[in-house]
Amino acid sequence: MTRTKIATVWLDGCSGCHMSFLDIDGALLDLADRIDLVYSPLVDRKDFPDSVDITLVEGAVSSEDDLAKIRKVRAHTRTLVAFGDCAVTGNVPALRNSVGAESVLRRVYLEPDLHAPQVPNLVVPALLNVVKPVHAVVPVDVFIPGCPPSAKTILYALTELLDGRMPDLSNRTRFGA
């Protein structure tokens, strides 16, 4: 039996959705027989693979780096899953949208009484002015709302996808669940 190639990525999130994924505990072992985790913050691999069956995306699109990443992920993924509220709605990362990126940076880096206040611009990627949910940037195939979605919901959704079905998540999770 060929295993389904699965990837997980995180953009602007808190990694809580990944934690919830790990919370499926024992079922992870059963899953392990059916999947090949080809890319993830949890595994050691630098580049996103050429062809992935299912990718779970945690987090909203907040920076230039997120943007480049999600475009690449989309191009190499068959079924893209918006995984958790940040990916689905923008959630907490998008709270800054009503004030804009610049005022956030100013407040954090320039207004406090620091020795040499400056906005970091080396190494860290530039923030987008507007944080977006994943589907506002690239097409998304499955949405799993929840902050984070429960382990049960994740297991259900993944099992359905592995079995070649579209998961019906209504009544299993919701925004903010």
């Binding site: 918006a82 689905v88 709605t89 907490v92 949208n97 009503s98 902050c147 998540l169 903010g176």
Partner: protein, 236 residues
């Protein structure tokens, strides 16, 4: 004298008094119609448009909450077309404000959130508008977070019709519409507010809440309204 009429709602034979609305009669027969602005005990205003139904022979959609039943009426409450419009309405509400369920006091007990689940809204296709709206936490016991307001005007109505204080009202128009206290002065400085808290209890979302509540801790209790309304009617 009010007559009793018979009608069909979703192929169920229903009876109602002619002074009842389609919504009231539907509920009496166990038929749920999605709704947000309507609340038993308050004058219906037909604003949210979620309860729109198809009535044979009218050619247009009518709000169940304001439309009176009539003899021989044939009502459809749940067609594919209505479900589509309702989903879009919910999406519009989410896109219009800044609804962040995960950090809201009524997370898990919110009528907007429930409606999204019920109508199968799992993401918002239309662009978020991200308005900039200031929180008013000047009142000693309650607070208003207009980011979560859906402009159902339940607070305006309960304050005017039931409490008789008329502290709440609307200002501006269109997408800039907002609920305000008195003449847009801070709630805490209001000299009409009686601190009865009815507005907080009828608010369907976390826009009006009691201070000191953390995420998901607040439960709204609007049931007092129906009791009040009923006893007032008896008293008359």
């Amino acid at each position: 004298m009010t007559r009793v009429v018979t009608l069909k709602i979703d192929d169920i034979d229903a009876t109602g008094r002619e002074d009842e609305t389609v919504l009231e009669v539907a509920l009496e027969h166990g038929i749920q119609i999605p709704r947000l602005c309507a609340l038993e005990g308050l004058t219906p205003v037909g604003a949210c448009r979620l309860c729109l139904v198809e009535i044979e022979g009218t050619g247009r959609l009518l709000p169940a909450c304001t439309t009176r039943v009539a003899e021989g009426m044939v009502v459809k409450t749940n067609s594919e077309r209505l479900r589509k419009y309702r989903r879009m309405t919910i999406e519009m509400l989410f896109a219009e404000g800044n609804h962040v369920c995960s950090v809201c006091v009524v997370n898990g007990r919110c009528e907007l959130q429930d409606l999204a689940v019920r109508l199968g809204v799992d993401h918002i296709r239309i662009p978020y508008l991200y308005p900039k709206r200031a929180v008013d936490a000047s009142h000693e016991r309650f607070a208003l977070d207009p980011n979560r307001c859906v402009l159902c005007t339940r607070c305006v109505r309960v304050c005017g019709e039931i409490e008789g204080a008329h502290t709440w009202d609307l200002m501006s128009r269109g997408i800039d519409s907002a609920v305000i206290t008195d003449l847009h002065t801070p709630w805490g400085e209001s000299d009409t507010c009686t601190t009865c808290g009815k507005c907080v209890q009828v608010c369907p979302t976390g826009a009006l809440f009691e201070k000191g509540m953390a995420v998901g801790e607040m439960t709204k209790r609007a049931s007092f309204l129906a009791t009040l309304a009923a006893s007032r009617e008896d008293g008359r």
